[in-house]
Symmetry: C2
Subunit: 330 residues, 2 copies
């Protein structure tokens, strides 16, 4: 038996506990080529909010009554795949459950000697790849440029800000608490608290690139601050994901023409072929401590929905994870 979280109702506005249901489920016996994995960490990510709304975008919506798939890290408890053995650390898309059966070809094995396995969901996983692809392939940042990263204390933002710093950019970052700002400053980021300081004022020197994780007012301030030929790396808009009605876009959209801006959206899942290059560059930085990362870990599968809702209140510093099982197998 296992436990899993299913979508009970499509959230209206902020996700509520009642939109989810914890239930017991059986774990099927693995067929040839399949592996049984016991999750240690499951990931909650802002993009999952869109999937809960039932609108098809770049990824199929979650169905009401069905389990919620997503990134997870765990250990193999039974293997019928020749690349995996009991005890292996793996990352999967098993989602919000304690245990499940996975096609071994869709698993990636982790080496816990190289990096803590949880990093496969954060700085060395999807959020890290998002940050790197955004900067390198979408923004094509150059040394000496000034970049503004909103949501800079989040999983994507904190990685983007530090990679940009290592690539010799001047980095300005926003976050939503004094503690987050302090952490960012300790990393050499010119951080400000957007709850007390207007982005417009913080960006008055001008910027060349904006890494947008937030949308809304921050986006409008960034369009105002961008220099001619600036770029917007349109990664996400967490300030908007709980909106029930589409709110108006930036009033200064016209700057895109007059300042010859390039605004480019991207979705990390289109860039899986860049994973190896990403790990080659960023892996050593993480290993050597040139990139720091933080994790906000909530305990217990039953707390996954509230951890998820917390993303939109900024409860997390760095990557938000839910621990659903022990590290050790026994």
């Amino acid at each position: 038996m296992t436990r899993e979280v299913v979508l009970a109702a499509r959230p209206v506005g902020e996700p509520a506990e009642s939109d989810f249901e914890l239930r017991e489920a059986t774990v099927a016996a693995p067929a040839e080529g399949e592996v049984v994995v016991r999750n240690v960490f499951v990931s909650v990510d802002p993009y999952m909010r869109g999937r809960m709304s039932g609108v098809r975008t770049y990824v199929d919506p979650f169905e009401v009554g069905a389990p919620i798939d997503g990134g997870a890290v765990g250990r193999v408890v039974e293997s019928r795949h020749d690349r995996f053995a009991e005890g292996d650390w793996v990352t999967s898309q098993l989602g919000w459950c304690e245990q499940g059966v996975v096609d071994g070809d869709r698993l990636r094995k982790l080496d816990p000697e190289l990096a803590p396995p949880s990093t496969a969901l954060g700085v060395l996983g999807m959020p890290g790849l998002t940050a790197w692809v955004g900067l390198v392939d979408i923004g094509r940042v150059e040394p000496g440029e000034t970049i503004y990263v909103s949501g800079a204390a989040g999983a994507v933002g904190s990685t983007a800000a530090q990679i940009a710093k290592l690539k010799k950019l001047r980095v300005i970052g926003s976050a939503g608490s004094p503690e987050k700002v302090e952490w960012l400053r300790s990393l050499g980021i010119e951080a400000f608290d957007y709850r007390g300081t207007r982005a417009k004022d913080a960006l008055s020197d001008g910027i060349d690139v904006y890494f947008d994780n937030v949308g809304g007012e921050q986006l409008e301030a960034a369009l105002g601050a961008l220099r001619p030929f600036g770029r917007v790396i349109a990664c996400g808009a967490i300030s908007r994901y709980n909106d029930e009605r589409a709110e108006p876009g930036p009033r200064n959209f016209g700057f895109i023409v007059t300042k010859r801006l390039r605004v480019q959206g991207f979705i990390v899942s289109d860039h899986g072929d860049r994973f190896r290059d990403f790990v080659t560059e960023v892996g050593p930085w993480v290993r050597d401590g040139q990139i720091s990362y933080r994790e906000t870990i909530v305990d217990g599968l039953e707390n996954t929905p509230s951890a998820f809702a917390g993303l939109f209140r900024g409860d997390n510093t760095g990557k938000m994870l839910v621990r659903v099982g022990a590290d050790s197998l026994s």
Copy 2:
């Protein structure tokens, strides 16, 4: 003596006759290297509205009390430059006046045997280059794609729509009268009248590229219709130039992320180095009649302000010009 139009006041909203003043002026004797030009056509262009507002964007604002410079075509009446002789057709930035003195190095000579001189202000001039650079360098359009061109009966739009057609795209265009729609249809463009048909409905098949001359509702409809990895060639926003307050941007800005769109602004004056390539490709199409062009010609310098204001009411089909003098020299 000559006559010139000066800016009498910064327009508030729609430009009014009282914002301009016609006055007499003297023409200085040309210094060495200078040329005296008598204008035949002066150009009125939507981008000039921004210069009247006194806000510095990519080009200096017009000053109250000062003449209005801009594109013009005329004939040399006196030359102290060795490349020009009396009678030559030239294009200059002399602007809204009947006659003026110009540095010969800033003049381009026209060959009236190759194309009517007025085309140097339209299909073979700045608006034509805008259309071509937008499609080729900014939108990077490909055969078989579907493009939507708003303002498709204007100087830029009608050229863009026809170039796109010649490059084997499916072309949908919008315009603001039955006559304009009929003209576009005669050119093989799938045209609709945006005053009677909602762009959203006309674009329900989906599009790959949007050539935006208009902004506002058309932009919002296009963002909705764009397919994944679509592009917006952000050329202008004539529906917005008379706004006194910045209106909200498109409500569906979020599609830029979810559909991985690229929205890129450009200003033709950054692309002067492409003029030769543009003429090489587009010149023969115009000469052979594969690209049609229309001109809306208003007579008399004193009618320049109302011709200009007419751009925002859609008075023009194709390029709006003001004839300020005879073709012949005598």
